[in-house]
Structures are given as C-alpha cells and as structure tokens.
C-alpha cells in the first residue's frame, strides 16, 4: 500500500545525501540490502530490506514518468547490473570490478544510485522513491510496463539515429565528447580490472610459496638442519607479508579507483542514453516538420498540431538536458576526484605499512647469527 505523501513540495521525507546501505546478506543467489535513511524531521531513521529486484522496480517507475515534461532529458543515475552468478568468475563477468571485494564496491554503487536519485530535483518527487526508502513492505514485484527507456527494445534502425547531425552546437559538441569519453572510460575500467585480477593472482602465488616453505621444515637436533628450518620459516613469513601487501593493494584498487572508474563509466553511458533520446526526439521533430510541410490540406492541421506538440516536447527535453549536463559534469568530476584522492591515500598508507614490515623482516635477518 502506497503511503500518503506527507509534504506537497517534495515527495521524499528523508534526506537523500546520506542514505546508507549498512548491511548485505546473501541467501543462496539472492542478495538482500539493509538501507538506512534519516528522517527530514530529525526524529529518527528508516531501516528497510531490499533486493536488486526492488531497485529495478524503482528504476522502472522513474523511467515511466511520461507525464513529467522533459523527463527524457534527465540523465538517470545508473543502476549497477544484477548479481546472480553462482561462481565468482560469472559475477565478475556480470559486474566487472563491482564483483570483487566482498560486495563492498557493489554496495557503494547501489548507495550512490539511491543518493543520486533521492537528491534529484525531478526524480525525488516520484512517490516510488518514498515507498522504496520508507515502506516496511517490499515494493510490489509486478513487472512494470515497458517504457521508452528500455534500450533493449529499441529497434536496430533506431541506432542509426545516434549519428544524426545536431542542430545545436552545444549538444553536438557534448555528444561527440561523450562518445569519446565513454569509450576511453570503459577501456580504462577494463584494463584496471585486469590489473586487479593479476594482483590477486600474485597474492595467491605468494601464499602458496609461503605454505610450501613450511614443508621444508624438518625436525632434528642437527644445528645446520635447525638453521635451515628456521630460515625457511622466516622466509615463509616474508612471503606472507608480501601476500598481505598485494592483497591490500588490490583491495585499495577495487574500493577506490576501481569503483570510481566503474561509476564514471556507467554514468557516461547514462548521459549517452539521454543524448540519444534527445536525438531521437530531434529526428521525430524533423520528420513531423517535413510532414507538416508536405501535408495535403486535409491533413495539414493535424500535422501542424503534431509538429507543435513535438516541438514543445523537444524544447522541454533540451531545457532539462542542459541543466542535467551541467549538474552531471559537476557531480562526475567530484566523484572522480574523490576516487583518485582516496585511492592515492590508501595506497600511500599501504606502501608505508609494507615498507615498515619488510624493513622489520630485513633487520631480523641481518641480526640472525650465522
């Protein structure tokens, strides 16, 4: 049952910027997330359980707001893909870097999605947002009707429109720029993932070496034997430290820049989708204009009306799109900056800790008599 809207100005009764996912539970294939949001009134929090299907429900509701003027000009915050692989390899294939790090980056991505939605001036007015964040019952699981935003349903012919020449220099530039950036970001994110996966392999190899050294330890009173055994144990510890270091480096990568690049990549794709919708509307408008001109007197008025309606829609989209693009540029730069700073700080810390650790080992070996 939908809860009544408490305030008229905003449908949302909670703060958007500090929504947190505090827990994730895996039951078989299904991940359940605990979402905590702070009441605007300052009197407490909402705790709700949601699965990915609930997130999709929310997203579909946002997509299907046909009555909101210029809705197609909105850059919809990207929702990460569903994680339902039964092996970690499958999950990594589905989610990329979000499939690593014990769901931590995945959770962060979902959190970001909710925060962006809940702070979006157009989107947060949708009741579905309130229901999602505050209703103790899971939102209805019925499939929402198909909407214009399902790219999958777009016919192949429509894809041709992607290259359609624009009438507005601002948008043409933005489209060109976005095309290049989406490509570069996607590649960078993929290469980064490759790096991280290899780092993990190294960590595993160090672990194996460390374990194998323990097999060289032999009992016995013979002093040379004892010396060698002791040496093996100590070398084993060194490789264990190496394993820890590499694991840490990989974790840092995943949770900061990995997540950041993935987020940026998906967000760029979201802008691309919006620009495409606008382009489609442009094509529609150009067709309508042509039809209106060519129309036989009988149909002329109808055609003219259609043309006017389409023009209005298009102009609304452009208006919203311009706002969205400005907002988007600010947000994405900030997100990337945060990712880069965090990444650098954490790697710096790990390097310092490792340097200390290795130094300690080194001193211990140098002091070994014999």
């Amino acid at each position: 049952m939908m809860e009544e809207v408490k305030e008229v100005t905003s449908a949302l009764s909670v703060h958007g910027h500090n929504i947190k996912i505090t827990d994730v539970v895996k039951d078989g294939d299904v991940l359940t997330f605990v979402i905590v949001s702070q009441k605007l009134s300052g009197t407490g929090e909402y705790h709700v359980d949601r699965t990915w299907d609930d997130f999709e429900w929310l997203q579909q509701h946002l997509f299907s707001q046909e009555d909101v003027p210029g809705i197609q000009g909105v850059i919809f915050p990207p929702l990460p893909a569903k994680a339902n692989g039964n092996t970690s390899a499958k999950v990594i294939k589905q989610l990329g870097v979000l499939g690593l790090g014990e769901w931590q980056p995945y959770v962060k991505a979902l959190e970001t999605f909710l925060q962006l939605v809940a702070t979006h001036k157009i989107l947060n007015k949708n009741k579905a947002v309130e229901v999602f964040l505050t209703s103790s019952d899971a939102p209805g699981r019925q499939k929402v009707k198909k909407n214009i935003f399902n790219r999958l349903s777009q016919a192949v012919e429509e894809m041709r429109k992607e290259g359609h020449k624009d009438v507005d220099e601002f948008f043409q530039t933005e489209r060109d720029h976005n095309l290049v950036l989406t490509g570069c970001t996607k590649t960078a994110a993929e290469k980064f993932l490759d790096m991280v996966l290899t780092e993990q392999k190294i960590a595993v190899a160090c672990g194996h070496f460390s374990a194998a050294l323990h097999l060289c330890v032999e009992p016995g009173e013979d002093p040379d034997k004892k010396a060698f055994s002791r040496l093996c144990v100590q070398i084993s510890e060194v490789f264990n430290s190496m394993k820890k270091n590499m694991t840490s480096v990989a974790e840092n990568n995943v949770n900061t820049l990995g997540l950041g690049l993935d987020q940026e990549s998906r967000y760029q794709e979201a802008e691309k989708e919006m620009l495409f919708r606008r382009t489609c509307k442009l094509v529609e408008l150009e067709n309508a204009t042509r039809n209106a001109e060519k129309a036989k007197p009988v149909k002329k008025e109808a055609m003219e009306e259609l043309k006017t309606a389409t023009k209005t829609e298009f102009q609304e989209i452009c208006r919203v799109a311009k706002q969205e693009i400005k907002q988007f540029q600010g947000v994405r730069v900030k997100m990337l900056q945060q990712a880069l700073v965090q990444w650098c700080e954490r790697q710096l810390l790990t390097a310092k800790e490792s340097a200390d650790q290795f130094n300690q080992h080194l001193q211990a070996f140098r002091e070994m008599t014999q």
Binding site: M195, K201, I202, L213, F228, Q337, L348, A355, F365
Partner: protein, 514 residues
C-alpha cells in the same frame, strides 16, 4: 709432505702443469709414473670399477631417462638427446683414468699417504689462506657469424689469495669452456665423494636465436640468464676448498688461451641425472641391497630425497609468481596507456592533468613490477633451480658410495671363491700341473686380498668425504638462502619506498581537481 700436495694427480690435460716443477707427490719415485697416465698398468684401471662400469654409465641409451629430470632439463631434452648420443662417449672414459685420484697408488702399501689424506690436509690449510676471491662474468660478446658464432664472456677474478699469480685479472671464455671445466672436475672428484657443482644448462633454442642474430628481448634475456648462471657456477666452484686449488680451475681462471673442450656432452646436470638414474638402474639390476651399517647415510639420503621434492615445488611456485608479475607489468602498462587516453579526452583541465599524472605514475609502477619480476627470478627462481641441480650432484656421490661398496663386496666374493678354489686344488690329481695351478691361484688370491683391502679403504674414504661434503653443503645452503633473502628484502623495501615517493607526489595533483 703435508703441504706439498696441492693438486690431485693429473689427468692428461694437466700434463704440462706438472712440468712447472710443482711437487705433487710425497714420493718422488711416484712422480714420473704419474705423468704418463697412458702407461698405467691395465690392472690399475680394473682396480677401480669406475673403468668398465663407467662405460656402462655413459652408453647411449634410447631409454627415456628424462622422466625425472628437472624442468630445465626436460625443456631441452629432445635436443640434448641428439647431442649426447652422437660421437664417442664423453670425456670421462678412461683415456685419463677417471679415478686419477686413486690411481697414483703405486705400490699399494703407500695408499694411505695418498691424496685422500692429503685432501684432508688441504682442507685444514684453508684456515691459513683466507677465502677471498670474487669472480664476475660479464661483457657477453658475439664472436663470429651464422651457426658457428658463439658468445664470449669475460671472466674477471679479484683475489688476494696467494694461490693466484695476480690479484686482478680476466680472461675470455665461451660456454663450452665452462662445460669442459665441469667435465674435468666431475671426472676427478665426483666418484670419490665430492659434490661438484653442476654446470649451467645447455640450450639449443636459446643459442640458436643468438647465433642467427636475433636481437630481441628474449634473446637478451637468455644471454643475461646464462651470464648470471655462469657467474654463480664459478663462484660455487671456487667456494669449494678442494676444487679451488685444482689446476684445471686455476688454468680456467688465469690462462689466456684454453684448449678447446671437445666433448662437452659430458655432465651438464642432465647428463649427471642420466648417470645417476643409470647408476640406480645398474645398481638395482645387480640387486644391491647395501647393508647400511651407518644410519647417518640412510637418513641423509632420505633427507635429500625430501629436499629435492620440496625444492622443485618451491621452484614451480616461484616460476608461477614470476609469470604473474610479468603479467602485472603488461597490464599496468596497458592501464597507463588507457589512463593517458582518458586524460587527453577529458575536458576538465584539472581532471585531465590528474589523469595524465596518473598515467605517468602507473608507467613508473610498471617499471617497478618489471624490476621486481627480475628480482623474483634472478634471486629466488635461479637459487632454487641451482639447488635442484646441485642435489643431482649430491645424489650422485651417494650413488658412487654404493658402487664403491659394491666393488668392495665383489672383490670379497671373488676372493672367497678363489680361496675355495685353492682349497679344492689340494684334491686334484694332476700333480705336474698342480704346483703351477697352486702358484697361479696364490698370486690371484694375493691380488684379490689387496683389492679387498683397497675396496674397504675406498669405501671408508668416500664415506668420510661425503660426511664432510654434506656438512659443507648444509652450511653453504644456509648461507646462500640467507644472502638471497636479504637481497630480496632489500629490493622489496626499495620498491615500497619508491611507491611512497610516487604516491606522495600524486596526492596534491588529485586533491587539486575542481
């Protein structure tokens, strides 16, 4: 007498060194006979079973002996088979009696004055001339063209030891020279229980690339790998107090011209492994169940079997690590490129700059990965590989001890038989031939008694030598591993310190965005 014997009795190649007037043997009378190995009585060759049996060991054998070979060996084995099977048996066949150490036992009465005990004295001498020698192999240089081309390496020795004529000198050597040196040392010392360090592996594939002039990274890596292996080989050889003083070693290090080693098929560690396996087979076929009276040997043999297994596992593990590290370097370089492209496409100035900086940092990190991969390889992987190969030599000496025991037992059995035959002679009824037969048998028995005694002495000597060698090996092992891990840790610390520098430089760039 104690300090006169510095070299073991010569084999043919050392002929000229004798003439330098070095006093080799306690009994001057012995000397002239020494210098003509060819004139050694046939019986001498037969007294050491290494003669005929040695032939057996080096027979070409189509049977696949590489099943147990080290990875390195099996990599080259098809080619190696080709090499080893053509031509005459390797240098060890007794033109120069391989047991040159034992042969100059002219007059069996004097054997205890021999080089065995003299070796003991040599080792005690160690304390006097302190071990101070450093050898480096450098400046690989391609000599010649096409398939006759070869790599010449500069072998430089720095030492304060009086053993050498100079303090700082160098010579040019090629790979087959190293193999030749090893072959000589192995033929002299292995069968009396000295652990002779194996020579580096041959590699047809690697050398062919070099010969045809392929100047790429893999052939450069090959040359560097070989250079490093040759250096380690020499250092390990000279660290051995006995081998250090061998005239072949001295000649190798000092002499500007070296006679070309012809039969270099001998005793690379693959050859050694073959020998060991064949020896094992030969031994089994003769159903030697040696009555091990000394538990120490049994225990040590088991220990080395275990160690071999462990080391191979470790080696495989490190190879895997090196592989991944190289992969990481490639991935890092690719990421750096993609980050650079991203930076170039980026409109936002500060972000663009930061991304470009990021690309540079990643390129530097790539270099660190490459250096680390080299460290992994040259320090650990090669160390473990060296020890796996060294263990084949260790196993070899244990095998030799068993063969020595067998020989002794054989002599004893033969003696027994002869004595029985002698006893039977009493009952023969051919009086005219009787005395002759009696005399013959008496002679044979005397000879066999001598052999039995010698056999027992040999066995005791080799057992004693092995004990010492094993002790030396175990101490060296601790020293080697410790040295390597210290170097490795130093490189690890350095890497982290470099990373700290890079991150500290990048942080303000990242913060400066927006």
């Amino acid at each position: 007498m104690a300090d006169t014997v510095r070299d073991p009795p010569p084999d043919g190649t050392d002929f000229h060194e004798l003439e330098d007037g070095e006093e080799l043997f306690p009994e001057p009378a012995a000397a002239p006979e020494e210098s003509q190995p060819a004139s050694l009585p046939a019986e001498d060759i037969s007294t050491n079973s290494n003669g005929p049996k040695q032939d057996l060991l080096f027979d070409d054998d189509p049977e696949d002996l590489f099943a147990e070979a080290t990875e390195e060996v099996s990599l080259d084995s098809p080619e190696r088979d080709v090499l080893l099977s053509d031509g005459p048996s390797p240098a060890i066949t007794p033109i120069t009696p391989p047991t040159s150490v034992i042969t100059p036992r002219i007059g069996h009465a004097h054997d205890d004055m021999f080089t065995h005990s003299s070796f003991d004295e040599i080792e005690e001498e160690e304390g006097g001339d302190s071990f101070d020698i450093h050898i480096s192999v450098s400046d690989p240089e391609k000599v010649g063209d096409g398939m006759n081309a070869y790599m010449a390496y500069k072998v430089s020795t720095k030492t304060s030891m009086l053993l050498f004529k100079q303090k700082d000198f160098s010579v040019k050597r090629r790979f087959s020279d190293f193999l030749g040196l090893h072959s000589k040392l192995a033929s002299k010392y292995l069968h009396v229980g000295y652990i002779v360090p194996p020579a580096p592996e041959k590699s047809i594939v690697g050398m062919t690339k070099v010969k045809v002039g392929k100047e790429d990274q893999s052939s450069n890596e090959f040359v560097e790998k070989r250079r490093s292996a040759l250096e380690r080989y020499l250092m390990r050889t000279v660290k051995h107090p006995i081998l250090l003083k061998d005239p072949d070693v001295l000649q190798f290090l000092e002499s500007s011209e070296l006679p070309r080693a012809v039969s270099t098929q001998a005793l690379s560690s693959a050859g050694l492994l073959r020998m060991v396996n064949k020896a094992a087979d030969a031994v089994n076929k003769m159903t030697i169940k040696m009555n091990e009276s000394d538990a120490w040997f049994e225990e040590k043999q088991q220990h080395f079997e275990n160690l071999d297994v462990q080391l191979r596992k470790l080696h495989a593990s490190v190879e895997s690590l090196v592989c991944h590290r190289k992969e990481l370097s490639v991935n890092t370089a690719q990421f750096a490129k993609s980050a650079a492209m991203l930076g170039n496409s980026e409109d936002h100035t500060a972000l663009s700059r930061a991304l470009s900086q990021l690309a540079e940092v990643e390129e530097k990190i790539d270099q660190l990965h490459q250096d680390q991969a080299n460290g992994d390889f040259y320090l650990f992987s090669e160390l473990l590989g060296d020890y796996v190969r060294l263990l084949t030599a260790v196993k070899g000496v244990f095998e030799h001890r068993m063969k020595t025991w067998q020989k002794w037992q054989d002599s004893q059995m033969l003696l027994q038989k002869k004595r029985e035959a002698e006893a039977k002679l009493q009952f023969t009824n051919k009086p005219d031939k009787l005395q002759q037969a009696k005399d013959e048998i008496k002679e044979e028995i005397e000879e066999l008694e001598g052999k039995v005694q010698q056999g027992e002495r040999d066995f005791e000597q080799i057992s004693k030598t092995i004990r010492k060698e094993v002790s030396r090996f175990e101490k060296e092992r601790v020293r080697d591993f410790k040295m390597i891990i210290v170097k490795y840790l130093e490189s690890l610390v350095l890497t982290q310190q470099q990373l700290i520098k890079y991150w500290e430089a990048f942080l303000p760039e990242a913060k400066a965005i927006s």
